[in-house]
């Protein structure tokens, strides 16, 4: 359960995650914004369909892959949030090659 220790400044960024609007802070990575908003699982694996969540937050583990603005398998921890960004969690094999 993640929580913000510092509330984002007035001008928060709005992103959409699987159709649901979420408030993020300007310095957030997509992965940080998802976790802070309570979205714990960002994808299921192509091999067994097991749920996965951001693990390293520094670009090495590739667990935080999501679709960002229609492009699949982007590293959420290396991508900074932008107003209006559309994020989709990825479900298994079907979307790995998107």
């Amino acid at each position: 359960m993640f929580r913000r220790l510092v509330e984002p400044e007035r001008q928060s960024v709005r992103i959409v995650v699987d159709g649901r609007p979420i408030a993020a802070a300007p310095g957030d990575s997509v992965a940080a914004a998802l976790l802070a908003a309570g979205v714990l699982t960002c994808r299921t694996t192509p091999v067994s369909g097991a749920p996965r969540a951001p693990y390293c937050m520094m670009g090495v583990c590739f667990e935080c892959l999501v679709a960002i603005d229609g492009v699949g398998s982007r590293q959420a921890c290396l991508t900074r949030v932008r107003d209006g960004m559309a994020i989709e969690t990825q479900q298994g094999k079907r979307e790995a090659g998107r």
Binding site: V6, G27, Y55
Partner: protein, 475 residues
């Protein structure tokens, strides 16, 4: 900040990574008149140790601690250095001729550098326990990045587990931030204390001793610490619900948990250096592969130097000094300074480096992780990407796989998007144990460019040369 178009075709010096080593190297390189570019994957400078140093929402200095804020001067000096800063840039290839392939915002470029300094830092050692892929489990480093860059902490039941200074630092930072930790499960083997004792006198003279003592005291006063943990598992349906542990032969204890933060030290991030062809060797104390470098950070490949933790773990203070030494040497190699100037400038950097390295051996030996947490067995996942278990790896070795590269064809182990970063050391150590040989003999995955996955669209966005066009023209 800059975009791909503003990057020139040729630089004197290209530095990869904006942690302490990279920032210090690029700053000094530019100061000596080298046309310098610094590529970094993150959107702002600092690397992981000084992550988000220019923009962290946690402005209360005591919270992250004064060691963190040392990064502000490095970032400040760099910003004024005149070096070109390419943030959000992923370097996916460097050839032995120092042609660099880099992507920014989904587009790719090739450029040339007369000298390259790799400052790709460290990553956390794999911590393969049952259930380490469950949502709710992440590394201490990851949790600390959330804290530094977004001011995000934790609620609910929080458990820290593992060994090493970062475990204690994070616990202290959480305490100051008002984040409650339910338990800290210390996996440091008891016998490490004995092994580390001969190195204690030097440690006590070091810059780390007083800080370490304060940190331990601060954490022990506020967190329940369980010493001598010998087995650890994360369990839950679809997400973490419980952490189970054992101390020696005592019965298993289960704790309800929402978050488990794992850490057992850091190891050099060798992917880029390996893919270039730099020679590495096994370090039996630090239990990882380390590139072979000389006192200036020169690797086995001409024109490629390695600075910071990527050249062997020694911490942030040492990283900045090795960055400066590598930059000095680059300026000398490229004719900007003579022998006399190089050696005169190097003096204070070498003295500071010696001070920063003094006493590190004690930490290396004390926090050397136990075999049980480096070489898992049974159904525990080794390769997270391709979901390969320890037993599958051992069976493949029995079936004739002699090294990590054969495992790729046997099991696809190490062939997922992380390219072995989260399983490479585990696989090497498992094979070495099974074959009763040394990890250095077994070796590591053969790494090839691109060292980060790139899309065909990115490749297609590369400007075409005449040679490339002719290569596909018929007749």
């Amino acid at each position: 900040m800059s975009d791909l178009a503003s990057i020139k075709d040729q630089y004197d010096l290209a530095v990869i990574g904006a942690g302490p080593a990279g920032l210090a190297a690029a700053t000094l390189g530019a100061r000596f008149g080298l046309a310098t570019v610094l590529f970094d994957e993150q959107p702002s400078p600092g690397g992981q140790i000084y992550r988000a140093i220019t923009e962290t929402p946690l402005r209360e200095r005591s919270l992250l601690g004064e060691d963190y804020w040392k990064g502000a001067k490095l970032a400040d000096d760099f910003a004024r250095s005149g070096a070109h800063y390419a943030a959000g840039a992923t370097v996916w290839s460097i050839s032995q001729e120092r042609e660099i392939g880099v992507s920014m915002a989904g587009r790719a470029r090739l450029l040339a550098a007369r000298h390259v300094i790799l400052a790709t830092g460290a990553l956390e050692r794999p911590f393969p326990i049952p259930g380490w892929t469950l949502p709710g489990v992440m590394t201490c480093g990851a949790a600390q990045i959330l804290l530094k860059s977004s001011g995000v902490g934790l609620d609910g039941k929080v458990i820290l587990a593992g060994t090493g200074p970062l475990l204690w630092l994070l616990a202290a930072q959480y305490r100051r931030a008002g984040v409650r930790i339910d338990a800290m499960l210390d996996t440091t083997p008891h016998r490490n204390w004995l092994a580390a004792m001969p190195h204690l006198p030097k440690f006590l003279q070091s810059i780390y001793a007083a800080k370490g003592r304060l940190l331990l005291h601060e954490v022990k006063a506020s967190v329940k610490v369980v010493r001598g943990v010998t087995a650890l598992a994360a369990r839950g349906e679809g997400r973490l619900q419980e952490v189970a542990y054992r101390v020696g032969h005592r019965r298993e204890i289960r704790l309800p948990a929402d978050t488990l933060l794992l850490h057992q030290g850091v190891v050099p991030n060798v992917n880029l250096a390996s893919a270039i062809g730099c020679v590495h060797h096994w370090d039996e104390t630090q239990l990882c592969f380390v590139p072979e470098i000389d006192e200036w950070g020169r690797s086995s490949v001409a024109g490629v130097s390695i600075a910071g933790d990527g050249g062997g773990i020694a911490g942030a203070e040492a990283a900045a000094e090795t960055g400066r030494l590598a930059a000095l040497d680059a300026a000398w190699q490229l004719g900007k300074i003579d022998d006399f100037a190089r050696d005169r400038h190097a003096g204070p950097y070498r003295a500071a480096l010696a001070e920063a390295r003094h006493g590190r051996r004690f930490l290396d030996v004390l926090y050397r992780p136990a075999a049980a947490f480096r070489r898992p067995g049974g159904d525990t996942l080794v390769c997270r990407c391709e979901e390969v278990t320890a037993q599958q790896v051992l069976d493949a070795v029995k079936g004739g796989a002699t090294g990590p590269n054969q495992l790729k064809s046997f099991l696809r182990c190490g062939m997922g998007p992380c390219q072995g970063r989260l399983c490479g050391l585990t696989v090497t150590e498992l094979i070495a144990k099974a074959r009763n040989t040394a990890p250095g003999e077994v070796g590591y995955y053969r790494l090839r460019p691109p060292v980060k996955p790139i899309t065909v669209a990115e490749l297609a966005s590369l400007p075409q040369s005449d040679a490339a066009r002719k290569a596909v023209v018929r007749g």
